[in-house]
Amino acid sequence: MFFFALIVILVFSFSFSMDQQAARELIAGILWVAFAFTGIIGLGKSFSAELQNDCLEYLQMSPAPKGAIYLGKVAANLLFIVTAEVILFPMFVIFFNLDVVEDLPVLLLIFFLATLGLSTVGTLFSAMTVQIRAREVMLPILLLPLAVPVMIAAVEATRGALNGNPLALYRHWIELLVVFDVVFTVVSFWVVELILDS
Amino acid sequence: MSGLYVRWGAVAVVAVLLVLLAYRHYERNVASLTPEEVLAERPDRVVRMTGLVRGGTLRGDLAVGRVRFDLAGQRETLSIHYQGPSQENLRELKTLVLVGRWDPAARIFQAHDIASVSNYGFVFGAYLVGLVPLAFFLFTMERKVGLLYNEIKGSKLYEPEWLDDVVTR
């Protein structure tokens, strides 16, 4: 997962040879494409560990509420993906020669919120696709259209933060991320009963 | 099944009639010539001609409705005497459809009306894309229903009596 993201960064830096001005415009998009694909790899694996020895059956039979299992998975995915992002981001800074010191807290907040948004929907679909055929194909096909708002908001907010704009100019994107996270945490918590119930 | 084909045959006949009517309408009200075709054919009747008003050639009083200008096609340019209702469409560098008569002796096109530019191709394409697949889709669905029903009737595993109500044929 980590090395995959590293390769994505390298491929992007080869395919766009750019100065710092162009980098500021494009970097947010590149960053989030790399993070989203990394996240999808991580999300796809989140239930596949249970496939061996029928662990998924036992997990579904366990008396614990399904919502709790789901939230645990979301927390684990969130932790892994955010960790990967925090390790990868300094490499972006080095490769693309960025200047980010004063906006670091806002960037971390954006990373956290957007990754939470990807994880809530992604974990739900991961639980769904792990039990069907062609699971590696179906997870991105289902997840990416639904994650369009997250991607747009994350890219726009990150671009604002990297350009050093005042927070008021891109605050509504962060609010949109919060709304998405709250809505889909609640909805997924409710519907995951229907997916992990066999 | 035969009723299905009769019904859809009627739909197809209606569609063909509509296309024929549309073609007649096109011939009469839409088709237009280019300046090159007018020069080559010298039509002795009222024709429609499409072209671009050359910049800087518009002279005359628009409010009265007597204007002279040059209309450019791909290669040729014709001079136009326009006498007719005042139209806001008549501006320089604008594509127009003129209705009028070609005067080969004076090499002047006497126009008496301006029609709107026909881009029926887009309209025709949109309606074609919108309606033909719809009809085809519906037809295949109905056909599939008929085939499935026959197949279910044919396979005599069990015959619940309410199935006849569900599928009225």
Partner: protein, 241 residues
């Protein structure tokens, strides 16, 4: 209850088809012949009479899919699942046709086949969600599980759609104002009559198509059950009188 509704609808479905066809025919007459060309757009404005109703019908189909999915999760009736499947297939069809006709309309009016307008992007996302829905259904063997997962996906996607629309609207309108929007077209009576007629016609036709497609999917699942491929207890219990 459902079976009585379906029986009633089956018996009178021809009327739906006839009424839809009549409305569409009248709408076509008003739209193509009786209504005047638009002052700015010329004849191209007639595309609106087929494009806008198609787009509305695709949204109607997705609303039916959403409500049907809730209904399925409540009753777990396989016929309702067939209804959802039918609504999804119709919705993806109408969305695709609306996108193509919109593209044909955009070329002469905006001078481009595609622009990143909020409505266009929302419809493209809707198309992708529905295509994913139909793909998901093909990859699951157990019909009960297929119905359940599909219903969950439809509900989540329906909740997502307004968020997509708002985000794309912010994204674009903060950058550049739209050149021409639908609000710029003044709605007069000559325009409204064919628009409403075509809208009603397509909606009724959608109901008719929904009945036919539900019937088709129901019969094919019934055939599967008869051939012994499908061993779902629910279907077998349904067939007992």
């Amino acid at each position: 209850m459902l079976n009585t509704i379906i029986r009633k609808l089956q018996r009178y479905k021809g009327w739906f088809g006839a009424a839809g066809g009549l409305c569409l025919g009248l709408g076509l007459y008003y739209g193509l012949v009786a209504s005047p060309p638009d002052y700015y757009q010329g004849e191209v404005v007639r595309i609106m009479y087929v494009h806008v109703p198609l787009a509305h019908t695709s949204l109607l189909a997705y609303t039916v899919l959403f409500l049907g999915s809730l209904w399925y999760l409540w009753t777990r009736d396989p016929v309702v699942d067939n209804l959802c499947h039918a609504a999804a297939g119709l919705s993806v069809f109408f969305t695709a046709v609306a996108l193509i006709t919109g593209s044909i309309w955009a070329k002469p009016t905006w001078n481009t086949w595609w622009t990143w307008d909020a409505r266009l992007v929302s419809f493209a996302v809707l198309f992708l969600i529905l295509a994913g829905y139909l793909m998901l259904r093909t990859f699951i063997d157990d019909p009960e599980r297929e119905a359940r997962y599909a219903a969950v996906l439809a509900i989540v996607g329906f909740i997502d759609l307004p968020i997509v629309h708002f985000s794309v609207e912010w994204w674009r309108t903060l950058h550049q104002p739209l050149s021409i929007s639908m609000r710029g077209v003044s709605i007069s009576k000559e325009i409204l009559i064919p628009l409403v007629l075509m809208g009603i016609g397509f909606s009724i036709l959608f109901v008719y198509m929904l009945i036919v497609r539900t019937q088709m999917l129901y019969l094919s699942s019934l055939l599967n059950a008869k051939k012994g491929r499908l061993l779902s207890q629910v279907h077998l219990a349904k067939v007992e009188p």
